[in-house]
């Protein structure tokens, strides 16, 4: 557990992380073990905004060109939207481009942003400061990603796209260096991996082009990049966001963002609070996973945060109706893989790192990347040429689009905060003023797991005793996420360690869903609690795909 001689106070999470299980994630096409096989023109893994926008654009273009395309979308959740979670304040431009005949009022948004406020919080009070230009949201809309995904799903199905919910993509099928499809996860296995009466074998879906739209920390995207040695200037960085949806007694009329308390100064992040409706409030806390304090617990910090007068005044007397968590790729421009297309495959959205942290936007980039991929893919299919050179059209289109322009402008902002809140804040302000030109040189970052953590007892506030009215335990949160994962499914987390109570405690604090507990000096794993946020995959035991339908059932997150 020691990092240097005699220093028992620091450790590197990376030391205890198992390697990516490439032998499971990449399979030779034709490997035994599959039940049914299906052939498609295009297979999309992930029915989030990127995957569905890609499917819709493909179907629309094909229709326009009088071409018949068989398009399949695999989604691990039991129903559309159940694994989708975001703030969210959405830039409508991708929607307008995808649905040019619709008015904004036809789009799946809740309300336009009218007022907004940014605060710097202290334990007891707040200081309002002018909204930084990167965070101005006029012209944008408050929305629920679940509602967006369900709406997009209906449009896709109406266009003849086959959306297969409850089927996770578990492995890439390859032929030489070429990706030829995906194998889904089996279902109906017991804890020891033995088939039950309801056993359904994995399916192989073969396609001319496979689109990876898995979202944050996608396993197949990671596997492909590792296998094909596609790297980026910086490793991808992640933040963990814990979010709740409340029905409130008091009305909220503005979107709010905060910085500062309750985050320690060596952690990057902030909070958001958005009114989906005056009495339906979404709020959450986002913290970069490179935090130094090994005892930091994002869920706990979020619970504590709600007691601050700014939030408390809206939440008092209300009811928490949903809870959830998800990681967000934060590395920005320098962490986007050198190429996001290859032999038989393209990568979209969060899986490719298309998220702009300073403006907290990712949904419209995800959709735009999906639409650009669709155009490139249709062109390739029509020309009968799905070679890497042809699919690289997608990369070219993305580089020429606002996706890369926006990410480039803010390329160092998040990264500046690795030096702490004040230095980072100063640098970020300078970058804003200079449109990203100064400080402009790439700031080098380490992988989150390679950032040393210290365990100093008493530094982090102790666990909050939840009151069940404003603050809640992790178990209560998991219940409100709608998670009813079968308790007897095989464990899906790969733990690579035999060891100390401190590391178990670190995992226990890391995971917002209470999957890990430190019990009698050892690690207890409550895998069915997992809500697929992927924080564990970033800093701890590896996440692998499990039976379809497992995990949360978000409704309006």
């Amino acid at each position: 557990m020691a990092e240097g001689a005699g220093s028992r106070e620091q450790f590197l999470p990376a030391q205890y992380q198992p390697a990516l299980p490439l032998d499971r994630l990449i399979l030779k096409d034709g490997s035994p073990g599959a039940g049914d096989r299906m052939e498609l023109d295009v297979l999309i893994v992930g029915a989030g905004p990127a995957g569905l926008a890609c499917a819709i654009e493909l179907a629309q273009l094909a229709k326009g060109a009088s071409t018949e395309l068989s398009i399949g979308v695999l989604e691990k959740a039991a129903a559309l939207g159940e694994h989708s979670l975001s703030g969210a304040v959405v830039n409508p431009r991708a929607f307008r481009e995808l649905f040019p005949d619709m008015q904004d009022s036809d789009l799946p948004f809740r309300a336009p942003v009218r007022k907004e406020a940014v605060y710097l919080l202290t334990a007891e009070s707040r200081l309002r400061f002018p909204t930084p230009p990167t965070m101005r949201n006029k012209g944008n809309y408050i929305a629920s990603l679940c509602e967006i995904v369900r709406w997009l799903g209906e449009k896709a199905e109406a266009l003849g796209v086959n959306v297969f919910t409850g089927f996770p993509g578990a492995s890439l099928l390859v032929d030489g260096p070429r990706v030829v499809g995906v194998r889904t996860a089996a279902s109906g296995l017991d804890r020891d991996g033995r088939p039950l009466a309801t056993y359904l074998a994995p399916n192989d879906l073969a396609a001319k082009v496979t689109v990876l739209a898995e979202g944050t920390r996608g396993m197949l995207s990671q596997a492909w990049c590792t296998w094909q040695q596609v790297t980026a200037a910086n490793p991808q960085l992640f933040a963990l966001g814990v979010k709740e949806l409340w029905e409130t007694r008091h009305q909220l009329d503005r979107i709010i963002h905060t910085l500062g308390w309750p985050l320690p100064r060596d952690a990057f992040g902030g909070s958001f609070m958005y009114p989906l409706a005056p009495n339906l409030v979404a709020l959450g806390l986002v913290v970069g996973l490179d935090y130094r304090d090994g005892a930091l617990d994002v869920h706990s910090l979020f619970q504590r945060m709600k007691l601050h007068p700014l939030f408390r005044r809206y939440l008092e007397g209300g009811e928490m109706v949903e809870w959830g968590a998800k990681t967000i790729p934060e590395g920005g421009y320098h962490s986007v893989p050198a190429r996001r297309s290859g032999d038989g495959v393209v990568i979209l959205g969060d899986a490719a790192g298309f998220v702009d942290v300073p403006s907290l936007k990712g949904i419209h980039y995800a959709m735009q990347s999906g639409m650009l991929a669709a155009r490139a893919i249709l062109g390739a299919l029509q020309a009968g040429d799905v070679s890497p050179a042809r699919l690289a059209d997608y990369d070219r289109m993305v580089s020429e689009s606002f996706i890369v322009q926006d990410l480039y402008r803010t390329r160092n902002m998040r990264l500046a905060f690795k030096d702490g809140f004040y230095a980072g804040g100063l640098k970020a302000a300078l970058m804003t003023l200079t449109g990203g030109r100064f400080p402009g040189r790439k700031i080098t970052m380490q992988r989150d797991a390679e950032v040393a953590r210290h365990i100093a007892p008493g530094v982090s506030p102790g666990p909050l005793v939840p009151d069940g009215r404003l603050t809640f335990s992790k178990v209560d949160g998991v219940f409100k996420s709608g998670n009813v994962t079968r308790d007897t499914i095989p464990g899906h987390l790969i733990v690579g360690w035999e060891g100390t109570a401190e590391l178990a405690e670190f995992y226990a604090r890391l995971c917002p869903a209470g999957v890990y507990e430190q019990v009698d000096g050892g690690l207890r794993v409550n895998a069915p609690n997992c809500i697929d946020c992927k924080a564990t995959d970033v800093l701890g035991p590896r996440w692998t795909p499990r039976e379809g339908g497992s995990g949360p059932k978000y409704k309006r997150m």
Binding site: G468, V475, V484, D487
Partner: protein, 323 residues
């Protein structure tokens, strides 16, 4: 004056306890209608305990008898009850929502061409109409329903209409009836396999991590035994996940939802996941050494203390009660 027909139940020639609930409920309705209660039981011959029904409010007790009716015969019972209801011009017909009642009431209602309010928890008269309460959405909401046809056919949820004894005893009569051979024949009853299921038991005692190790569940099993076969031992998800107890015993999260008359949570802290499974229990008792455990907020009665001292004492006292 139109009366209320209360359909009692017998098994093997003895009246089932739920019959007193049916008559109690029928009496409540009859009082609101200023009507009389006629209790009815279908059997092979005289039914032991039928004459007690007067003590629960029946003005008259009729046994419809035929040798073929010893065991429940769905079609035969439905026919004779419907015939009686039609002939007697009753204002209401009341069943128990027991296994037999839930099967029989719809058949009778369909034969009479009227609606059935099944599994109700309260019955009154409002504006001249029989009005009932019925839990829906797994008890998360209550529906108030009005029956507009006559007779109003209802079935009562068991364990809700607590029998109320009255000093009066009604007249009992045996009426022979014809039994057309029904097509559906009950050929026997066998014992349920294995121990009482947590979802069926009227008393559930659930244990959590506070029991410290699997062997200590003995303590709960002893308490369950003291209740004389009416109690089952359940478990929180934590102990099921730890492999201490089988999944079939799990209460809460994806284990079973239970709604017993009495739920005793021992060494369980009361996370929402567990509470969701037992929330609709009639009475909840919690035993836990942590006075701040969330379960005390949900329990009707709580004892703060060491379960290894409290539970054996409770077991001893329950044994004494059952003599």
């Amino acid at each position: 004056m139109s009366d209320v027909l209360a359909v009692a139940e017998q098994r093997e020639g003895a009246l089932r306890k739920v019959s007193s609930e049916v008559v109690t409920g029928a009496r409540r309705l009859a009082d609101a209608l200023a009507a009389r209660v006629e209790a009815l039981v279908v059997a092979a011959g005289p039914v032991q305990g039928a004459d007690q029904l007067g003590g629960f409010g029946a003005d008259k007790v009729i046994t419809l008898a035929n040798p073929a009716f010893g065991r429940y015969a769905p079609e035969g019972y439905a026919r004779v009850i419907a015939d009686r209801a039609r002939a007697g011009g009753y204002r209401a017909v009341v069943f128990a929502a027991s296994a037999a009642g839930r099967d029989l009431a719809p058949r009778v209602a369909a034969r009479l061409g009227v609606a059935l309010a099944q599994d109700i928890t309260d019955v009154t008269v409002e504006g001249g109409a029989v009005t009932v309460m019925h839990p829906v959405y797994a008890g998360k909401a209550l529906l108030k329903l009005k029956l507009t046809a006559t007779p109003a056919v209802v079935s009562l949820r068991p364990n809700v209409f607590t029998p109320v004894q009255r000093p009066k005893a009604g007249a009992a009569e045996i009426v022979p009836v014809d039994a057309a051979a029904g097509r559906v024949v009950v050929t026997g009853i066998k014992a349920a396999a294995g121990a009482l299921d947590v979802a069926e038991a009227s008393i559930v005692i659930s244990g959590g991590r506070g029991l410290k190790e699997p062997a200590n569940f003995k303590v709960l099993e002893a308490l369950a035994a003291a209740f004389g076969g009416r109690a089952a031992v359940g478990a929180s998800r934590a102990v099921v996940d730890a492999g201490w107890r089988p999944h079939a015993d799990q209460v809460g999260q994806t284990g079973k939802t239970v709604s017993p008359t009495l739920y005793i949570a021992v060494g369980i802290s009361g996370a929402i996941q567990h509470l969701a499974g037992m929330r609709t229990s009639k009475v909840i008792v919690a035993i836990n050494k942590d006075k701040d455990a969330p379960i005390f907020k949900v329990a009707d009665y709580g004892v703060v203390g060491d379960l290894f001292e409290v539970v054996p004492k409770l077991t001893e006292e329950i044994r004494k009660l059952h003599g």
